[in-house]
């Protein structure tokens, strides 16, 4: 039953997403839809590391922010093409993610979460205080977005949406393939379930953990870059713990260890959260907190209903 829902729902959702600009040609809806896609990528990247590999990161806001700042500053100060900016952002985040992964080779569970939380907080402090580069508390703005887009506002939004959807979809498919169709994916699951046993069976757990860190942070950085080129403003608040909390909420909501579950969770939770803004700005995060608590305790498999839980 669940498998059938998956088979039908995912392609259907993708088709609807791809057609959205034609179905609802409205700038506000497109803006929200673009952002939802960015969140989906971030949630999927978190799931690869934390849901699949079991290395819980509380620092994805940091990788996201790193990517966003790397893209925005490189384009603003070095006039880097936004296309290369995407790659640059992913590389910067991957590099820092790899460095953060080193303690992870020795640390388990609690410690890792705490280190990554500290890392995100350091990113936030740097963003806030390195005025020349980051613009400080007010953030960085006035930089280019993707070149060659139509000038008319609506067409411009539509084109931007299509670009983001394409990149997000390709990234999610790539991550899913890595997790489901390669030896690395098996190693990720083995590490999550029992690291000692994995090692005992000949799996180089340190290498695969590092790989999960690098890939996950690279895609988180890519999501950050998409955010930067779409929103055209990056401020230190993107590195806040609320961002991480939001992402984890999405992943838990959708279903850990499935990659596509968190994508679904992100789209729904972002939609819910934006809907709640009409009632009052504060209610969206209350909902996020509630979703995390209820789903962790009572619906551990999330909406995706996957067999595997972290």
């Amino acid at each position: 039953m669940i498998a059938r829902v998956r088979v039908i729902a995912v392609p259907a959702a993708l088709v609807v997403a791809a057609l959205l600009p034609a179905l609802i040609p409205h700038p506000f809806v497109l803006t929200l839809a673009t952002q939802a896609m960015v969140w989906a990528l971030l949630a999927a990247s978190w799931d690869l590391l934390s849901g699949y590999t079991g290395q819980v990161s509380f620092g994805h806001a940091g990788f996201f922010a790193l990517g966003a700042y790397a893209a925005a500053t490189a384009t603003k100060h070095a006039d880097l093409s936004p296309w290369l900016g995407l790659v640059f952002a992913a590389l910067v985040a991957a590099l820092v993610g790899g460095l953060a992964g080193f303690p992870a080779l020795r640390l388990r569970g609690h410690y890792l979460a705490l280190v990554t939380l500290g890392l995100a907080e350091i990113v936030r402090l740097v963003a806030q205080n390195w005025l020349e580069l980051t613009g400080g508390p007010f953030g960085i703005h006035d930089y280019r977005t993707f070149p060659g887009l139509p000038a008319a506002p609506l067409a411009h939004r539509q084109a931007r949406y299509v670009i983001v959807v394409a990149i997000v979809a390709a990234s999610v498919v790539a991550m899913r393939a890595l997790c489901e169709r390669t030896p690395a994916g098996k190693a990720f699951r083995a590490i999550r379930e029992d690291e000692v046993l994995a090692e005992m069976l000949g799996i180089r757990t340190t290498v695969y953990k590092l790989l999960a860190f690098v890939v996950s942070s690279a895609f988180a950085g890519l999501a950050g870059a998409l955010y930067a080129y779409d929103v055209q403003l990056v401020s230190p608040s993107v590195a806040s713990a609320a961002t991480t909390s939001f992402v984890i909420g999405m992943a838990v909501f959708g279903g850990l260890g499935t990659v596509w579950g968190p994508v679904l969770g992100a789209l729904l939770l972002f939609g819910l959260s934006e809907g709640l803004r009409f009632i009052g700005v504060v209610y969206n995060l209350i909902a996020v907190g509630l979703v995390i608590m209820i789903f962790v305790v009572f619906v551990p498999r999330g909406l995706a209903g996957g067999r595997r839980t972290a």
Binding site: P183, K186, A187, R189, A190, E193, D194, V196, L197, A198, E199, M200, L201, G202, I203, R204, T205, R307, R308, T309
Partner: protein, 248 residues
């Protein structure tokens, strides 16, 4: 070693020592496991048997001594490198990827050792051990006996050179016990080598070519089952289990 004609032992442990704080868990322990033999490692609880396994597989780092596999030192390798040399191990408390299906447990075991074309062998073992109908069940949902069999099967799909079994019969139904004993006997016939920790004496006595007895971290006896059965120190150590430290 020079150019000796004799084959080096499959596994040779010499002067192995491990301290935990002030306690000597394993102390100057030496023995050999000849290729194609089944060696039993027995002794009271807390005598250091499992620690020896942990030292051989490098889950623990020895404070002294050497471990040789086919004449090559393996005590400076890491756990996964040792595994890739074809050394398999089971655990006293069964270790499996409990949330994952049986089939995937086997796939990971084969992947970890870099073994290809394992499916046929896996199917044969699953059939043989009566797990064929359970390939899609999660490992954690199996009975204790089935879990022990799966743990064994995960080590068999890779055609190991040496298998370390830590209490393979603990908590297992007599029918499954017989199944495990038969499997070991058959594999020995095909030249596989075993080192087995086990408390179930009839099993040890009937199956093993040689028995190594440990007490308080030291080897106190070594020899064929008949000799071990008659050894007074062994009897004293095994009977004295009640007063032995129960710290393992």
């Amino acid at each position: 070693m020079g150019k000796e004609v004799t084959q080096p032992a499959r596994l040779a442990v010499s002067e192995l020592t491990k301290r935990f704080g002030g306690l000597r868990a394993v102390s100057g322990c030496s023995f050999e496991v000849e290729a194609g033999s089944v060696v039993g490692l027995i002794g009271p609880n807390g005598s250091g048997k499992t620690t020896v396994f942990d030292l051989i597989t490098r889950l623990l780092r020895a404070d002294g001594g050497r471990v040789l596999h086919d004449g090559e030192r393996i005590d400076d390798l890491s756990t996964h490198e040792i595994a890739r040399r074809g050394i398999g191990r089971t655990f006293q408390a069964v270790r499996l990827f409990r949330a994952l299906p049986v089939r995937e447990n086997l796939a990971i075991a084969a992947m970890g050792r870099g073994v290809r074309d394992w499916e046929g062998r896996a199917d044969a073992w699953l059939e043989r051990l009566g797990l064929m109908g359970l390939v899609d069940a999660s490992a954690g949902s199996l009975s204790v006996g089935q879990q022990r069999l799966l743990e064994l099967a995960m080590n068999l799909v890779i055609e190991p050179t040496l298998l370390l079994l830590d209490e393979p019969l603990a908590g297992v139904h007599p029918v499954v016990r017989r199944q495990i004993a038969e499997t070991i006997r058959e594999l020995r016939g095909r030249g596989r080598t075993f080192l087995i920790i086990e408390h179930h004496m009839p099993f040890v006595m009937s199956l093993c070519d040689k028995i190594v007895v440990m007490d308080h971290g030291e080897k106190i006896a070594e020899g064929p089952p008949a000799a071990i059965r008659a050894d007074e120190r062994v009897i004293a150590a095994l009977l004295g289990q009640g007063r032995a430290r129960d710290d393992a």
